[in-house]
């Protein structure tokens, strides 16, 4: 290190790293010793998702493609941009569309935040797929990580559902017709959808338990068409329910990676 560098380091050591404030926040010295590098990871809530040390192959980008971490990172980007959008959006047909128009035209950075949320959502779907692909290709789903793979499959499904519920919210032509096409399939659910096999068997003569006003699609949309109740339901699912479930499962997913150990050749 140069003389200037030494000087800067000395000043930092004396006035920053030894200061009461610094030491109250970070319980370790400058991370250039093994001990402090370990403490950085162990004493930080966010960094301690990692172990203090990893086998060499697990650190390499060509092994993980960083896809798992990036999936979580995309979730954070989408949460932040999503909260921003929530300030300007009301989930009723009267307001939803005009709120988006106003967001694009009148709100500072509104267009940008909407774009980040939209493209980030597409990117997250892709990244989660590729994460699954990598975990498969390195055989990381095998014992003892079977259960965590299952949790990951549910998280993949939740990612798709999060994206799908968000699709309706702009309340434009693309939104309602994509959701109409998507939810039409629900009416064909065996026994639970009114056009599904077996549904007509539940009931007695003309009394049908499962009909177009009582089937699973009706429950999903809160009506028989994609209307105001569907918008509200998808909004609540998108902004509250699904992120909470996903957050809960992510906690399980990350914890299990640590408990089961990062996949490594034996």
């Amino acid at each position: 290190m140069s003389a200037v560098g030494d000087q800067v380091r000395k000043i930092l050591d004396e006035s920053v790293y030894q200061s009461v404030i610094w030491k109250s926040v970070f319980r370790h010295g400058f991370p250039d010793t093994d001990r402090n590098r370990t403490l950085v990871v162990l004493s930080n809530l966010f960094l301690h998702l990692h172990p203090a040390k990893l086998k060499g192959h697990a650190v390499r980008m060509r092994y993980t493609w960083c896809m798992g971490g990036l999936s979580f990172f995309m979730f954070l980007i989408l949460t932040i941009s999503g909260v921003f959008l929530m300030f300007y959006y009301r989930p009723t047909p009267e307001y939803a569309y005009v709120d988006i128009v106003a967001l694009r035209e009148d709100v500072p950075l509104g267009m940008f935040m909407r774009n980040v949320h939209r493209w980030g959502a597409h990117a997250m779907v892709l990244i989660v797929w590729l994460h699954m692909l990598r975990v498969f290709m390195t055989g990381s789903y095998k014992a003892p990580r079977e259960f965590n793979w299952a949790v990951g499959v549910i998280l993949l499904k939740l990612t798709l559902l999060l994206s799908f519920t968000g699709y309706l919210l702009p309340w434009d032509q693309l939104a309602i017709w994509a959701i109409t096409v998507g939810t039409n399939m629900a009416r064909a659910t065996p026994f639970l959808g009114h056009e599904g096999p077996g549904a007509s068997l539940i009931g007695y003569d003309d009394f049908k338990v499962v009909h177009s006003k009582s089937d699973i699609r009706f429950a999903l949309l809160g009506g028989s068409i994609v209307g105001p109740s569907a918008l509200l339901r998808f909004y609540v699912l998108h902004c509250v329910f699904l992120p909470l479930v996903a957050g809960f499962l992510m906690a399980v997913h990350f914890w299990r990676i640590r408990k089961d150990g990062f996949s490594a050749p034996l």
């Binding site: 267009m111 774009n115 095998k142 017709w177 996949s263």
Partner: protein
């Protein structure tokens, strides 16, 4: 098919016609399946960087030539189709990276060495700084990429929602286009409910049904040929390819169009799809099909029942070692999922070859297969 409208010079027309011909569903699908297994077979050549770069250049050239077609240009510049191109590029990149390392490791095993990952795993590294720095830099790059994408490309907003005016074609979100494509061949209770459900259950069952202890923690192909081939067939052919088809080759009225063929709303296709019962009673026996479904549909039921009983029974013989390894229950789970997975291409080929509509057709109970 009407000829493509291309902006390119006249001598390019045969090329456009050829690509449109290749995009016929049966040719595209068969070609992709052959290409898929061919690529697995010749993986050692394909992963060599000069060969890979050559393929990438060829695909880029193909892409830019394709932009000469007004139809493809229109679809390619739609903001909502951007994820499709990113999907193709990223999927190609990671598949190449996986196979490059797999081929390398398989070669090392043949020489009696350990995997490259195994060598690297000997050393233990501090997460700070060796991993945290990588994560921070990658996160910064991805954030920058998302920001650049968001500055450069505006998220579209279409007209105010109108339940009375349906767009033609009405498409599901891009990641569900594979399912929408399956709807052409199966009724919604299969394509929209049963098949997605079995994708999920199959993925969850996967670790419990893979008895192969090898291949954990390193890239390999030769130690896991069967698992990797099946998984990638499902992912690349039955999912990614169908998304591409749904995006670029499905136009108005969900008709099939060549890559460069203009989307004509008035394109008429003679739809004379025939049920299996009709083939059996009318064409084979030469009499009218019985009105009662339990009499009319027994050939279809027999076929389905046979498919799901005879095939597993044959499989226990053909894959005896696998069967003994897994036991009855787990073997059944694997075979049932594989048979359902294969039923999609089977129904596709039956539709393309003999215009088969339904194998079992009981509209009263919405039970059509």
């Amino acid at each position: 098919m009407s000829g493509p409208v291309g902006l390119g010079p006249d001598y390019m027309q045969p090329f456009f016609d050829f690509v449109n011909w290749v995009c016929k569903p049966q040719i595209l699908f068969s070609g992709s399946v052959v290409t898929f297994f061919g690529a697995l077979k010749f993986r050692k050549i394909l992963v060599k960087p000069p060969v890979t770069i050559g393929i990438v250049i060829a695909m880029l050239v193909f892409f830019f030539i394709s932009l000469l077609s007004p139809q493809f240009y229109n679809e390619a510049r739609k903001a909502d189709n951007a994820p499709i191109f990113i999907m193709i590029v990223l999927t190609g990149l990671v598949i190449w990276a996986a196979f490059y390392q797999a081929v390398n490791n398989d070669e090392r095993f043949r020489q009696g060495l350990r995997s490259d990952e195994h060598e690297a795993a000997e050393e233990k590294l501090h997460v700070w700084p060796y991993l945290i720095y990588i994560e921070a830099i990658v996160a910064a790059f991805v954030l920058a990429a998302i920001f650049a994408w968001s500055i450069g490309l505006e998220a579209p907003l279409e007209q105010f929602a109108n339940p009375a005016k349906s767009p033609n074609p009405a498409k599901a979100p891009w990641y569900f286009l594979g399912l929408q494509e399956m709807l052409v061949y199966y009724d919604p209770w299969i394509a929209g409910v049963l098949l997605p459900g079995m994708i999920i259950s199959g993925l969850i069952a996967l670790p419990y049904c893979d008895p192969n202890p090898k291949g954990v923690g390193y890239f390999t192909f030769e130690q896991r040929r069967f698992a990797i081939s099946v998984f990638l067939f499902g992912f690349l052919i039955l999912w990614v390819l169908l998304i591409f088809v749904g995006t670029f080759l499905r136009g108005p009225n969900w008709n099939f169009f060549g890559l460069y063929e203009p989307w004509n709303e008035h394109k008429l296709l003679s739809l004379n799809n025939v049920n299996l019962s009709e083939y059996f009673w009318t064409n084979l026996l030469g009499k009218a099909p019985p009105a009662e479904w339990w009499k009319r549909e027994w050939p279809g039921f027999a076929l389905i029942l046979g498919y799901f009983t005879v095939m597993p029974a044959l499989a226990t013989v053909a894959f005896k070692k696998f069967y003994q390894q897994l036991g009855f229950v787990r073997f059944s789970v694997v075979i049932m999922h594989l048979l359902v997975m294969l039923s999609l291409p089977i129904k596709m080929y039956l539709r393309w070859s003999i215009n088969l509509k339904y194998i079992v057709f009981i509209p009263d109970y919405f039970f059509n297969i």
